[in-house]
């Protein structure tokens, strides 16, 4: 089936006129989404979708470089594709000619064959998928007498195929499936209400562990009962796996070569410097099939590869797509990402992971002694600035006293700067967990943060 998509992409590339470069991204997919409520299906969505994104380069005046235009459409109908190509061509006429604007060309790096497809997503009957959501909702309600409400219990899956071809010799296709279970629990005791969420992910429904989602949601909600605001203080903060993964995802935008060449990253000009705690090594490796963001090819059709960004605390490299690499005088690191057919490629990370330490959560808490354990954060998009490095997020979790979790805490913030936080990492857990998003999670302890409360 994917061959058919690749042929379609090539058939559009073949329509390039002399002096034009054309890159065609085509995708097709199906998705299922079930939400259960009070033992019944609240909503069920089943749909196919497809789309095309075309980048077209025009040769500018001698030596001035190329102009690029982009157009997309949510359809693969021949007349729509023709109109999209014409739009891209028209848009290109208005862009500034730029010698750094080129399409990716094969760079000799062999793509690793990785299997991200589970036939079970297509083969599993709808009743079974519905049953997964309904059973998750029922089990969560029954898990603890304090569970007052399950505001959502969802099963969802998707199958996506992508093909990419260009006049510069790119020809790649890939396909992937995903399956996802998630649940939001609301628990109460007297007038006190708390919430918790849990999930389980996999390539297909057979990988999903409903108990993992349920236990996580119920534990996170119930242990927050009785939470209080606390006094402002400076302390060590231990971030749980999910929060740590979110933090690495934020850090990823400062490691984008594009942000760096445009002067929008606090890492600019710091290659070779010690920017993080000694033991910290950060790798982006999309060829690791355990990663949610695993991929054989990047958003420009180049092979994904393992990139060591920070080694033993020293900043080693940034991730680049083709254009940002040329601007920096570097080469693409196979790190082009794109937000589906409606987005153009940019440099980004897919599968960040810190070299794991040896301690589990309990041992880390014991080592930290006193501080705050954070199980979830809010306001990441409004409170973290990867240009200045300012960091301030809402937090909920539990105090750490005498090396163990103590009373729950809510309505506080934790703040620092990303620069200082990287230098102040005191523990990296050995408890690696692969999570949705661009980074794996492991317990992370960061010293000297400001806890703001009363």
């Amino acid at each position: 089936v994917t061959d058919e998509l690749l042929q379609l992409a090539h058939s559009v590339v073949d329509r390039a006129l002399p002096g034009e470069g054309v890159e065609v991204y085509v995708t097709r997919g199906t998705e299922t989404e079930v939400r259960a409520y009070e033992g019944e299906v609240e909503s069920l969505t089943s749909a196919d979708s497809s789309g095309v994104g075309i980048r077209l380069l025009l040769d500018g005046p001698e030596g001035a470089g190329s102009q690029v235009g982009f157009a997309w459409a949510g359809s693969l109908e021949p007349d729509v594709i023709a109109a999209t190509l014409a739009d891209a061509r028209d848009n290109a006429r208005f862009a500034t000619p730029d010698p750094d604007v080129v399409l990716a060309a094969p760079d000799g790096v062999e793509a690793r064959e990785i299997d991200l497809w589970d036939d079970a997503v297509g083969a599993t009957p709808m009743e079974k998928k519905v049953a997964l959501a309904v059973e998750l909702e029922r089990a969560t309600r029954a898990a603890d007498p304090r569970v007052r409400q399950v505001s959502s219990a969802d099963y969802s899956d998707s199958r996506v195929e992508v093909a990419l071809a260009s006049t510069t010799g790119i020809s790649s296709s890939r396909r992937r499936t995903n399956a996802f279970l998630s649940v939001d629990a609301i628990v109460g005791e007297g007038a006190d209400t708390q919430t918790g969420s849990g999930f389980s992910i996999g390539r297909g429904p057979g990988d999903l562990v409903p108990d993992e989602a349920m236990d996580d949601a119920v534990l996170r909600a119930t242990r927050m009962l009785g939470a209080q605001k606390v006094r402002s203080a400076h302390c060590t903060v231990v971030f749980d796996q999910r929060v740590a993964s979110t933090l690495l995802g934020v850090l990823a935008s400062a490691l984008s070569g594009e942000a760096v060449v445009k002067g929008r990253s606090f890492f600019a000009g710091r290659i070779g410097e010690t920017i993080a705690a000694e033991g910290m090594t950060l790798v982006d490796d999309p060829t690791d099939t355990r990663a949610y963001g695993a991929a054989s090819h990047d958003g420009e059709g180049l092979a994904c590869r393992r990139n060591v960004l920070i080694s033993e605390g020293v900043l080693r490299m940034f991730v680049f797509d083709t254009v940002s690499a040329r601007r920096a005088g570097a080469v693409s690191t196979g790190s082009a990402v794109r937000g589906g057919f409606a987005g153009t490629p940019s440099a980004g990370c897919r599968a960040l992971v810190l070299s794991p330490g040896t301690k589990d959560l309990e041992e880390i808490l014991a080592a930290v002694g006193d501080g705050l354990y954070v199980q979830s954060v809010t306001g990441v998009h409004s409170g973290v600035n990867t240009v200045s490095g300012d960091f301030s997020v809402g937090a909920e979790g539990l105090m750490i006293e005498g090396g163990a979790l103590a009373h729950p805490v809510r309505e506080v913030t934790v703040a620092s700067t990303l620069q200082r936080m990287l230098q102040s990492v005191v523990e990296i857990g050995g408890d690696l967990r692969w999570l949705p998003g661009v980074a794996a999670g492991q317990t992370l302890a960061i010293a000297d943060m400001t806890l703001s409360g009363d």
């Binding site: 019944e40 157009a71 359809s75 500034t96 209400t193 409170g383 240009v387 300012d390 301030s392 809510r410």
Partner: protein
């Protein structure tokens, strides 16, 4: 504006009948034809002109408590019938045989007085980008990077349902935004400003892009000398139009009927109760022409309303879409919205604002011995079940001795909705609105927020000092 319906009424009638063939209480076709355009100037180059087209229909069948939904990019009768059958597949068996659907005459709400984005020469749009870039760079040598974006969309929607409703609308939106980076001894700082209106290109006859650029640049420059924000609970004065995001997060989401009916909001069962300071009268109003959350019909075909949510501190009503209103045997308040034809509608805000008060904004600052003056807010987030919410500052200053003094670095504020609303002790006259994008359950829609200068006696500010 639009001479033909996206789908002919007789086709719609057959598709709706097919959707109900297995039973069901209501079937609906939502068709959409959207064209978007955007341009980006970055690092002094026009880097990207983009155009997009998305066209398709979403069909839902509601049967008791269950909704079946399918969508298709194929607007032919064959494509629509296939989607109708897929949506109906979740409806219970044993329906009452053939149901015929008769639609009312089409009510078309498209407006003719807007300049459609695709009728404007691309070179004219690019000229705006260059003018803004020049203005931002002229604001100071410390401005080292400028990114200017503009975008527009033209969205035709048609809604038909088995209750006979048939409505069509054309929504035209235009946005313009500038991000500046300033570089100084203490590192880099950013400034952002945007304009976003439910209007066509004619909006630039009334708004100068240079003004938007200068505000963004001034914001970045001011923060170069900023000190870390304080931590702990402090009095906050929010400037008029700094971002009604406070109310959007502190109570707006919690007043959406889907959260209420699932008992997932702190405001469940609170109608008639005092939930805020008597100075608070909060309205959600999709009818405010030109505002970012304005439309003629919502994504279920209902007219928007001026819905009073809180009056003098007392909770008066929630916001409703068709599905949640039906459960309570009432009418939709015109708050059923969706990101696109690929999404189910749900209860969403439109333009949510606090009515202006009687005080002088400068007086409010003068009567605040110490605290923080927030000139501009960024985004926010809320947990509706607990009421805890955060919102970020992107331009803030210390208040010392009743005077605005030093600039502060960005930080988040955290509070509990019902508590913060009770702590509002002054509201001024200088009302203004700001546009925003609201995300809920994976769907984004344009919204407006508004408020006059106001004071909150205590909120926790998440700085480092």
């Amino acid at each position: 504006v639009t001479d033909t319906a996206l789908i002919e009424p007789d086709v719609l009638e057959r598709v709706l009948s097919a959707a109900l063939v297995g039973g069901g209480d209501m079937a609906e076709v939502f068709a959409e034809d959207a064209a978007t355009g955007s341009a980006l100037l970055d690092d002094r180059r026009v880097e990207e002109l983009s155009s997009g087209r998305s066209r398709g229909a979403g069909i839902r069948v509601v049967d008791g408590e269950t909704t079946g939904f399918a969508h298709t990019a194929d607007l032919s009768e064959t494509g629509l019938l296939a989607a109708a059958r897929a949506a109906a597949a979740v409806a219970r068996q044993g329906g009452d045989g053939v149901r015929t659907v008769a639609l009312e005459p089409l009510s078309d709400h498209g407006r003719g007085d807007r300049t459609a984005p695709d009728s404007v020469d691309k070179a004219r749009k690019l000229e705006l980008l260059t003018r803004a870039d020049d203005a931002a760079r002229a604001a100071g040598d410390a401005i080292t990077q400028v990114q200017v974006g503009c975008g527009d969309s033209r969205r035709r929607i048609l809604i038909a349902n088995s209750e006979g409703l048939l409505a069509q609308d054309e929504q035209i939106r235009t946005r313009f935004n500038v991000v500046c980076v300033a570089n100084g001894d203490t590192g880099m700082q950013t400034g952002y400003e945007s304009l976003a209106r439910t209007e066509g290109f004619e909006v630039f006859e009334r708004y100068r892009v240079e003004d938007i650029a200068e505000i963004a640049a001034a914001r970045a420059l001011a923060k170069l000398s900023a000190r870390p924000a304080p931590s702990g609970e402090v009095p906050i004065v929010l400037a008029g139009g700094s971002g009604g995001i406070l109310f959007h997060e502190a109570c707006g989401h919690g007043l959406e009927a889907d959260h209420i009916l699932k008992d997932a909001s702190v405001y469940t069962g609170q109608v008639g109760q005092l939930v805020a300071s008597p100075l608070v009268t909060l309205v959600d109003d999709g009818t405010v022409l030109g505002e970012w959350g304005n439309f003629a019909v919502d994504d279920e075909g209902h007219a928007p309303g001026r819905n009073v949510l809180i009056e003098n501190g007392v909770l008066t009503d929630y916001m409703w879409d068709w599905l949640r209103a039906r459960k309570e045997g009432r009418k939709s308040s015109g708050n059923g919205r969706r990101q696109s034809y690929q999404h189910l509608p749900m209860v969403r805000m439109t333009n949510t604002y606090l009515l202006a008060g009687a005080e002088d904004p400068d007086e409010i600052v003068a009567q605040t011995p110490s605290g923080v003056y927030v000139k501009k807010l960024g985004g926010g987030q809320v947990n509706t079940a607990t009421g805890d919410f955060v919102f970020g500052t992107t331009e803030a200053y210390l208040i010392e001795g009743g005077r605005i003094t030093e600039p502060l670095r960005d930080a988040n504020l955290i509070g509990n909705g019902p508590e913060v609303l009770r702590r509002i002790d002054a509201v001024a006259t200088d009302f203004d609105m700001t546009p925003g994008t609201c995300g809920k359950d994976g769907q984004s829609v344009p919204v407006g927020c508004g408020q006059a200068t106001l004071r909150i006696t205590g909120v926790t500010l998440g700085g480092t000092a």
